[in-house]
């Protein structure tokens, strides 16, 4: 059985470069994406490393404020649009959506391939912008700095993000239509794994928010090229309009980054607790609620920007509303662990790390939603720490959790377990050491995006930079042992974790057509039998 599966695996279906670059197989496209975003992750990470290096000394070690500004802009742009937003949907999502649905492919396979090419084209333009001198506006591109004053390759960066946006839209559209139309017989909405629900919620945001960003960036480019436009204060235009439009996308985009992480964690916690997910419907509807309410809160990025007091009050109240569904999820995961049979394989360690870091990040978000507290804390390192806890501590941990969990399914090889656990622990420790001091820095008033800073912030910055070194080790480690496992890793069985879900019923790696016979779903997800023996093979 296993031999037959290996022969027909999607990986063996053509070995030429052409067979990869012209593939419409969702699994192969997922692999193409993994290669691409891994590159961007380390490119953005390298910039982060240089930023932390610079901040070791209050005077700045890299010698030029301009270089520093370009570094953090590059870090932000690459990490947000070329890693965090696409990370889970285009890799794990692309691979798993049809498998979990019991479908043979996504609804529009050619669109899927096109979206990869768009993504790569965007990446090339972004790299051109970086190599050609960089951008010094930060990833937020605020006008009028970006439209009139900034030097550098603003237009190239804007074009890159514009193209990447269409790649996102294509992916989101594909997922939504696929989930609506290609569910296997018996796969009703409430029988879908939470991962699919969270990808659905993510796709809603991608499809409805990304076009707003695309148009906003076009307006920005228009203003920069022609020297006049709708954000131009000289003719009565409103620079805050740009911020409204930008955050209309960029705040929901935060949920694009974190919702798939919720999905991943909701798969892993039950699998390693051998227990049904606690409160399935609440978790599902919390995802949908986040996707909708997430669109109502963008104004909380602008509490000191000069918006009206009324709108600040409204946005503050709505921001608290969106925090509630996130809280629901955290409690549900913990309740799932209650009375379980918990195993501590690497995916579970990453998942537990995720819960801790995400909760910390989420709670500090409450500080920023409380209007008066936000006035003091915003635009300082407090904000930097807050969103890194959510994005990096949360999202990257979730991505690694999912990558380890489904790695045997994707590659047909097991990763070395001890190394996996070591990586999870190093990342958790390094992360906290890097970013916790930044909460204190922020409270003490250290502003963001400062190339040099007053002497009295030095000790905490030093601590943070030391943590970054450990974090770097933690991120390079998986790159090493996962690559190693491709060549030497133990062969994986179809279901090494004893997990539920359709993707585990087919071979590892799956055949090109996913399922020899279209499966018929009769059971709700996560039907784990307690104390079930886990055969590791």
């Amino acid at each position: 059985m296993r031999d037959a599966a290996v022969q027909h695996s999607y990986l063996d279906d053509g070995r030429t470069l052409r067979s990869w670059l012209l593939t419409t197989d969702h699994k192969r496209i997922a692999i193409l994406y993994i290669v691409a975003i891994t590159f961007f992750f380390f490119a953005g990470g390298f910039a982060a490393f240089l930023i932390r290096y610079n901040l070791i000394s209050p005077k700045g070690l890299i010698g030029s404020a301009e270089t520093y500004n370009r570094l953090f802009s590059m870090h932000g742009i690459l990490m947000v649009w070329f890693f965090l937003v696409p990370a889970v949907p285009v890799t794990l999502g692309n691979f798993l959506v049809p498998l979990m649905l019991g479908a043979r492919d996504l609804a529009f396979p050619r669109l899927n391939l096109l979206s990869w090419y768009l993504f790569m084209a965007a990446g090339v333009v972004a790299l051109y912008a970086v190599v050609g001198g960089g951008v010094d506006t930060g990833w937020t591109f605020y006008t009028p700095l970006t439209s009139f004053y900034s030097q550098g390759h603003v237009i190239a960066a804007v074009v890159a993000i514009f193209i990447a946006g269409f790649s996102s839209i294509a992916t989101g559209l594909n997922f939504i239509v696929t989930i609506h139309k290609l569910r296997a017989p018996g796969m009703t909405w409430y029988k879908m794994p939470v991962f699919l629900w969270s990808l659905y919620a993510t796709s809603v945001i991608l499809v409805l928010a990304t076009p707003v960003l695309a148009m906003t960036l076009l307006l920005l480019a228009f203003e920069r090229i022609f020297g006049i436009g709708v954000f131009d204060p000289a003719i009565g235009g409103d620079p805050l309009l740009f911020q409204h439009l930008f955050w209309f996308y960029s705040h929901p985009a935060v949920y694009v980054m974190i919702l798939p992480g919720f999905g991943v964690i909701s798969e892993i916690i039950p699998a390693f607790s051998r227990k049904e997910l606690f409160g399935y419907k609440f978790v599902v509807w919390a995802s949908i609620a986040i996707a909708v309410i997430g669109f109502l809160v963008w104004g909380h990025h602008m509490f000191v920007a000069g918006t009206s007091l009324y709108s600040a009050l409204v946005f503050s109240l709505l921001s608290y509303m969106v925090a509630a569904p996130s809280a629901i999820k955290v409690f549900n995961w913990i309740a799932t662990m209650h009375k379980g049979y918990i195993r501590f394989d690497a995916p579970m360690l990453y998942a537990i790390g995720f819960i801790g870091l995400f909760t910390t990040g989420g709670l500090t978000g409450l500080f920023l939603a409380a209007l008066a507290a936000d006035v003091h804390l915003t635009q300082t390192y407090f904000v930097v720490a807050h969103f890194h806890y959510v994005m990096v501590g949360g999202m990257v941990s979730a991505y690694f959790a999912g990558l380890h969990f489904w790695w045997p399914k994707m590659t047909g090889h097991m990763y070395p377990e001890m190394w996996g656990r070591a990586g999870a622990i190093i990342i958790f420790v390094g992360f906290n050491l890097t970013f916790f001091p930044q909460f204190l820095l922020g409270y003490l008033g250290m502003p963001r995006r400062y190339f040099a800073y007053p002497q009295h912030f030095e000790a905490l910055n030093l601590l943070s930079s030391a943590g970054a070194l450990i974090l770097a080790v933690g991120y390079i480690l998986p790159l090493g042992y996962l690559t190693w496992s491709l060549l030497y890793g133990e062969r994986a069985s179809a279901n090494p974790w004893g997990a539920t879900g359709l993707e585990w019923t087919t071979a590892s790696p799956p055949p090109t057509e996913n399922f020899a016979v279209t499966p018929i779903v009769t059971q709700a997800p996560y039907q784990y039998r307690q104390a079930e023996a886990v055969n590791h093979e």
Binding site: H180, K181, V204, L208, V212, G236, D238, L240, H244, L245, F248, F295, L296, W298, G299, G306, T307, S308, L309, Y310, S311, V314, F315
Partner: protein
């Protein structure tokens, strides 16, 4: 088939009538003003969606997508204009201290 074409003719006629009404709201009935124009414009968009794009024949999925577009546009325009409409502006002409 004739029925379909006749229906299209009816839809097109309705559109032209609404276009005329839009002009009337603008120039003739000054009391109607901008509100009337806005209402008629939205009506015309809806007529096009149902009459030309046959929204009524599509399944619930399509309805969901169309409703999402309208809802999210409302969020963008509604919450987006909350700020300028509740803010008092103090434009500065001279920029030197």
């Amino acid at each position: 088939m004739t029925a379909i074409v006749l229906r299209l003719v009816a839809v097109a006629s309705l559109m032209f009538a609404l276009l005329a009404a839009e002009f009337a709201a603008t120039f003739v009935f000054s009391g109607w003003g901008r509100g009337g124009v806005a209402i008629i414009a939205i009506t015309m968009a809806a007529v096009a969606a149902f009459g030309f794009m046959d929204l009524h024949q599509e399944d619930v999925t399509v309805w969901l997508f169309a409703a999402a577009a309208v809802l999210w546009l409302t969020i963008l325009l509604g919450l987006g204009s909350l700020d300028p409409f509740t803010r008092s502006l103090f434009p500065t002409n001279s920029m030197t201290p």
